[in-house]
């Protein structure tokens, strides 16, 4: 018999069973380290009170990246049009406020989620039968067509100049918005926390495991009876809804929305954030979005050209040498430290 030489090889079979079982049973439990990003986010509120508007944008991007991670990182589906759902959410709230007088913010988030989710469901049902270049082009074309449609009715959408001067009701009728965006930051943070909790539960659920299975070996999934297409449409719909919420938050925190939210640039940007942070790792979205936004904020002010070059270079290097992103590097470092401690 082949010799088992791993750290999980215990003495008695019975002990091994329990170990194996408890690994799975405890997997979803919150780890202490998970509090870190939230503590940092709260600390930022106190340490950088004058950067709250920027802070809100970072939170919005984290949510956007999180939504993409569900499809890209967990289910393994590569698309080029995720910005479409962001844009749909952004415009649901924008048009709602500008044309329908719907200025209540929290219900706006729900509306955005529903509309974006619906579009995600309808497009996903058709498009997720395809993969590779075909899917890339179909999703890209869909996003561009939405943008063009918006441009066509620029009387409604405000075109590339956008819908300016949107106003929203105070939160729950009480918390008004101050010039420095403090209320908005907390609002975005709470929304992110809620969304994150939902995403985390999905990822650790049997459904989440199935997504990983689809990513790892779709042939096997078919052979064991998995309704692959149905699963993909489901996760795509959820991801679209979340991207929609992110877009809605964007409009609310900026009091402004233009058709540039549909840009391919946006879809590319969020993919870059994810790969920088690390796909399929929940917190990769946090790291990647935060690092990207902070770098962009500092560097593109110095020289937009150097920033663009730098981001391109970073991407190339990441793909060649740090495929699992910053989270991957952190994990490797942690393993290294653990090994050193053992010996």
């Amino acid at each position: 018999m082949a010799v088992s030489n791993t750290m999980t090889a215990p003495a008695k079979p019975a002990a091994s069973r329990e170990e194996a079982a408890s690994f799975l049973i405890k997997r979803h439990r919150f780890r202490a380290a998970e509090a870190l990003p939230w503590l940092i986010a709260i600390a930022v509120y106190f340490i950088f009170p004058d950067r709250m508007t920027f802070g809100s944008q970072v939170l919005v991007m984290i949510m956007f990246a999180l939504s993409l991670d569900l499809i890209l990182g967990y289910a393994g589906i590569v698309t080029l049009g995720h910005a479409a759902f962001f844009g749909i959410g952004a415009y649901t709230v924008g048009l709602g406020a500008a044309k329908l007088g719907w200025t209540e913010p929290v219900s706006g988030l729900f509306a955005a989620a529903i509309v974006a989710g619906l579009v995600g469901f309808m497009t996903g049902w058709f498009l997720l039968r395809y993969r590779g270049l075909t899917l890339l082009m179909l999703t890209l074309a869909t996003a561009i067509m939405l943008q063009e449609a918006g441009n066509l009715r620029s009387d409604l959408s405000g075109g590339y100049d956008g819908l300016p001067g949107l106003t929203f009701d105070p939160l729950f009728g009480k918390f008004d918005y101050d010039l420095y965006g403090h209320t908005y930051y907390i609002y975005a943070l709470v929304a992110l926390a809620v969304v994150f909790y939902v995403v985390r539960r999905i990822v650790y659920s049997p459904f989440g495991a199935a997504l990983t299975g689809i990513r790892e070996n779709v042939r096997r999934m078919h052979a064991i009876g998995s309704p692959v297409h149905g699963r993909l449409v489901m996760v795509y719909t959820i991801a679209a809804a979340i991207a929609g919420i992110a877009g809605a938050l964007f409009t609310q925190t900026n009091a402004y929305v233009t058709l540039t939210v549909f840009d391919f640039d946006n879809s590319a940007k969020v993919m870059v954030m994810l790969i920088l942070g690390g796909t399929g790792r929940l917190y990769g979205a946090f790291l990647g979005a935060a690092v990207y936004m902070i770098l962009e904020d500092h560097l593109s002010k110095l020289s937009p050209t150097f920033w663009q070059f730098g981001i391109g270079l970073l991407l190339v290097l990441a793909v060649l040498f740090a495929r699992r992103g910053l989270m991957g590097l952190i994990e490797d470092a942690a393993k290294f430290v653990a090994k050193r401690r053992q010996s």
């Binding site: 088992s4 999905i202 052979a223 489901m234």
Partner: protein, 263 residues
């Protein structure tokens, strides 16, 4: 009694290439049938047609009497049809235990649940561990599949198929690629399969075939050349000429000497 699996006049063309010709095959409950034939005979293609990876040009496939010819792979799997692949199709980045839990999850519809933590249903984990225990894989439960030696990976491949609790099991060269020092593990498993399951095994190793099979189907160039019991096949001069050759004959004789029918 309805056969567990019935293949009726199955044909498959790829343009002018007729890869499966008018194949008829029946697997009763508890069947132990070996599918043998020279390379390129179309054995894996036949399995692919039965499982739904390919759709036939004509003919029918019936599972427990139900016509499943127009259904998807997943549909057939959920109705009790399991298979192993000639080259392992595993979830290499996951642990052995997770591979089995995933399979049970699909089988029972657990994987439709988006909210409950995956480890919360103790019964699923226990059942998975039972499967691993019966294949002596428990020690490897927490190892990533890609870190296992090939022979043990092959066992995981079979474990997945068995975890589906199939009524019909199609094994595509289960011992292929396994070093001879480890192949007895596979063969023990195959020999110890639940007597209620209908099993079809593609094999080249005549040792395995004559040890395991109660019936043999010989496939040549996509068509059924002949079918029968191991004794009949052994005695068939044409088969010997076409396929078994010298070595196969020796193995067949040896198996015959070990006595009688095998199960």
């Amino acid at each position: 009694m309805t056969a567990a699996l019935q293949v009726e006049s199955l044909n498959r063309n790829f343009g002018a290439l007729h890869v499966t010709r008018d194949v008829n095959l029946t697997l009763e409950r508890g069947a132990r049938r070996a599918l043998i034939g020279p390379n390129g005979a179309g054995k894996t293609t036949l399995i692919n047609l039965i499982t739904g990876v390919l759709s036939p040009s004509s003919g029918r496939v019936l599972l427990n009497g139900d016509d499943i010819t127009a259904t998807s792979q997943a549909f057939r799997a959920r109705r009790g049809l399991a298979r192993t692949f000639q080259i392992n199709q595993l979830f290499r980045g996951l642990t052995v235990l997770e591979n089995i839990v995933m399979t049970i999850g699909e089988r029972d519809g657990e994987n439709n649940n988006l909210w409950r933590p995956a480890g919360a249903k103790r019964s699923v984990i226990d059942e998975a561990l039972d499967h691993l225990q019966s294949l002596r894989l428990v020690d490897d439960a927490l190892r990533l599949v890609r870190e296992l030696p090939y022979g043990r990976q092959r066992l995981v491949e079979i474990a997945i198929a068995l975890a589906q609790k199939p009524r019909v099991l199609l094994l595509d060269e289960p011992a292929a690629g396994v070093p001879s020092s480890e192949s007895h593990l596979i063969l023990d498993v195959v020999a110890g399969l639940d007597p209620d399951i209908a099993v079809l095994i593609i094999e080249h190793d005549m040792d395995v075939v004559f040890r395991f099979a109660k019936e043999i189907t010989v496939l040549v160039q996509g068509a059924v050349f002949t079918q029968g019991t191991p004794d009949e096949i052994m005695a068939n001069a044409e088969v010997r000429a076409v396929y078994l050759g010298e070595d196969g004959h020796a193995a067949a004789q040896k198996a015959g000497q070990r006595g009688g029918q095998h199960g």
